[in-house]
Structure formats: structure tokens, C-alpha cells
Symmetry: C2
Subunit: 216 residues, 2 copies
Amino acid sequence: MLDLAILGLLQEGDLHGYEIRRRLRDSLGLMANISFGSLYPALARLESAGAVRGIEAGTASPLATGAAMGSLSGELAALRSKRTAIARPKKSKKVYRITDAGRALFTELLAAPATSDDARGFSLRVSFAKYLTPELRVSLLQRRRTQLQDRLSEVCTAAQRNDLDIYARSVVDHTTQGVRQDIAWLDALLDAERERSRPDLTHPNPGGQTMAPVND
Amino acid sequence: MLDLAILGLLQEGDLHGYEIRRRLRDSLGLMANISFGSLYPALARLESAGAVRGIEAGTASPLATGAAMGSLSGELAALRSKRTAIARPKKSKKVYRITDAGRALFTELLAAPATSDDARGFSLRVSFAKYLTPELRVSLLQRRRTQLQDRLSEVCTAAQRNDLDIYARSVVDHTTQGVRQDIAWLDALLDAERERSRPDLTHPNPGGQTMAPVND
DNA sequence: GTCATCATGTAAGCCGTTACATGATTGC
DNA sequence: GCAATCATGTAACGGCTTACATGATGAC
């Protein structure tokens, strides 16, 4: 799941570890403050699996040979301009770039069936849903909907008990409400997908994103 | 956290492992389907720590010597009536009862500060909040409220970005909404606590939260 | 020069999972 | 007798955490 998040962020530009952590927190909003003890091993794993390549900032690197440098992200370019031609410091930023294999892995992870009651994993997948085909998006949403429906049955069973004290009652009711709202959210997303899949009506939508398929 | 749940259920009567799992699922509503691979080791751990004592159903046991048998739960009694005087079968139900040490541990775990963003742990604690003093209850709720307020700041930061695609946007918005509702829930619980702590006014409040002082 | 912050990493451990192995009870 | 369910356990592993160790950079 962390791998998925990392690869997703790397799809939009090269980043170093510390920055990935920051984005996980306040760009994605999910996974508040992942720990370095998870992050760096994950990056190392992904690198040795060939899904990403790390380049030591400020050195001639396997990634940035000759003219290829031009394609580096603005952030890295800025970094380069600040410390021109310092040769290989012992320890420095290590900027990661996703590879073709990484993109393939990303797609695979993104469409993979979520195991169990994984709310965070699901939200993460939706966050990156623009990279899915409409069909896979719908099936992702529907799979989750089924899970939540099951969960709702469970909590409703619990909610029907009449021997709960006020606190347990309050928890059960609040949980039920939360699950219901999650389902409503999914239904809204599914509706939007359906809307988007039949863009052939004459001016059905004067207000905005008329038939915008997946605008950024 | 599992320990807390087990001890909490055991406070209301003796249970065997399988049954504990069932109750976790559809009595508490939280922790849907905890696995046996967690549950039994946890029970063993608690037993060797002296927090619970397990009695082999259908045998003369350290718990049920002589007249003490009468205090066993209805379930166990029913079991006994079905299989009178079968001596020590190899493998049978093992019913657990909480000890004084266990009750102490329970209270300790229940009031302990929750580490990080632990929604499930918090809900579990609220479920057992009737075992807390009013003061500890309030401090539990307020600690959580502070956490959620911080979380809200984070997701609001993310929500202010305008470069999110419709899916990421939807996730962030839904997350924000969820956190807000959790906070509202806590406020309702805190109001109820305050209400309960001054039961000496003559009908002061026909409508509801009249002068609720802790609103945002 | 030193302090805060940025940045990378390792080690130990916790808390849970799946998969597997086994035995007891009940209904047909 | 056999299958389904109830019931207890073990082994291996996964993913994330905290605590620790280290180094680079920039501000003052």
C-alpha cells in the first residue's frame, strides 16, 4: 500500500524521500505522517525491484547522462543551480524517478482487489483513480460498495441489540452512520462515472465539466 | 488493543475464545472478524500474565472447586448439563474468567493515552466508557478531540490545493467531512457528560444543548 | 560555531494477518 | 459414517511503528 502511494506520487514528478513523506501528509491528506522507518526501506525495495531509480543529487548519474538532464523536475533543477559541480558529497538528497516497470507495477497495484476492510487503501486508490480505465474505476467502486454493504449488515446487527449501555450504543450508532455515508459517497462517485460514460446527450449539463472524461 | 477488548468482554461474563470472537464481531460491532491467530495467542498471553484464568469445560478445575461451581455462567452450566461427568476429554472448550489483576489491567489499558491516529482503539475505549470515572471519560474524549482537530488542519490544508483532479478532490473532501463529523460526535458526547455532571437544576434545558460552552 | 531543519538510513519490536493442523459435537 | 460447524491452537510472515545513529545545509 505504501508502494502504491509512492509510485503514484512519483508518476507526477521526481521526488526524494523526505518530500514524498511531506506530500503523503499534506497533498494526499491520507496516511498522515508515514514514518521514515517505513518509507526508506520501501524506496530501497522498489529500487532493487527496478520500479524506481534513485539518482544522487548533484552528481553525474545513471539517470541524467548528457542531454537527458533537461527533463529533470524543476525542484531538482533548482537544487543543481544552487550547488553547481560539487562532486559526490558523502550523503545528499537522493531523487527517485519511476521507471516503465514501476508504472506497470503501479497500474497492477492500483487495480488489485483490496484485501479486507481496508479503508485507507481504498481511498488511496480512488485518489489515483484518474490513472484507471472507466471500467476498472467502476469495478473498484463497486467492489468497495459490496464490502461496505456487508459491513453495514454487521453493524446493524449490533445496533439492534437493546442491552447496550449509552456509550456502546453511541459508538455503534456513530459507526453505522459512518458506513452509511461512505456508501452514499460511493454512490455519488458511481453516478458521476455513469454520467461521464454517456456524453452523447444534447447539452445535458450547462453548468460545468460537461463531458470532461478525466480532466486533471 | 485486543487485550483491552478481551478483558472488556470478560468483565460481563465468562467466555471461551470462539465466543469472544463472535461478540467482537456482532456485539461490539468493531473489529469485524478478528483472526484466531491473534485471539488465542492473546488469551494465552493474558493467562500467563495472570489477567485471566482458563478453565477446561467439563472437568474439575482450579476455578470451579466444589461449591464454587454455582457461580459459573449460564452458558457453561448448560454445557455441563449436556455432558455430565465425562472425564477430561483431550480437547474441549476452554472458558476464560477475568481475575482481579485482569480487572486492574483493564482499567489501566482503558485510561491509557491512545497512540497516534487510532480510531478503532478510541471507539473501543468509548464502548467500555461506563467503566471509567466521569473525569477519565472526559479526558479521553478531549484527548481524542485534540487529535482530530489536528487531523482536520491537515486535511484542510490538502483541501485548499486547487491542482487536484476530481478523484483526489473527492477523497479529500470526503475525508474532511468524516473528520468533522467525528468531532461533532465527540462534542455531543462531551455535552452529555457535562449534562450528567450537574443533575441538580430544575428542568433547565428542555430543548437540548442550551449553553454548550465547548463549541469549536 | 552552533542550532534548527532537512535528509537518509538501521534495528527492534508490535500487532495483526493468512495458512495450516487438529480435535469435538451435532445432524442426517 | 460423514459432513458441517464449533473449537483450539501453531508457524510464517507483513507492514508499520518507535528509537536510534548519522550527515548536510542554512540562518543567525
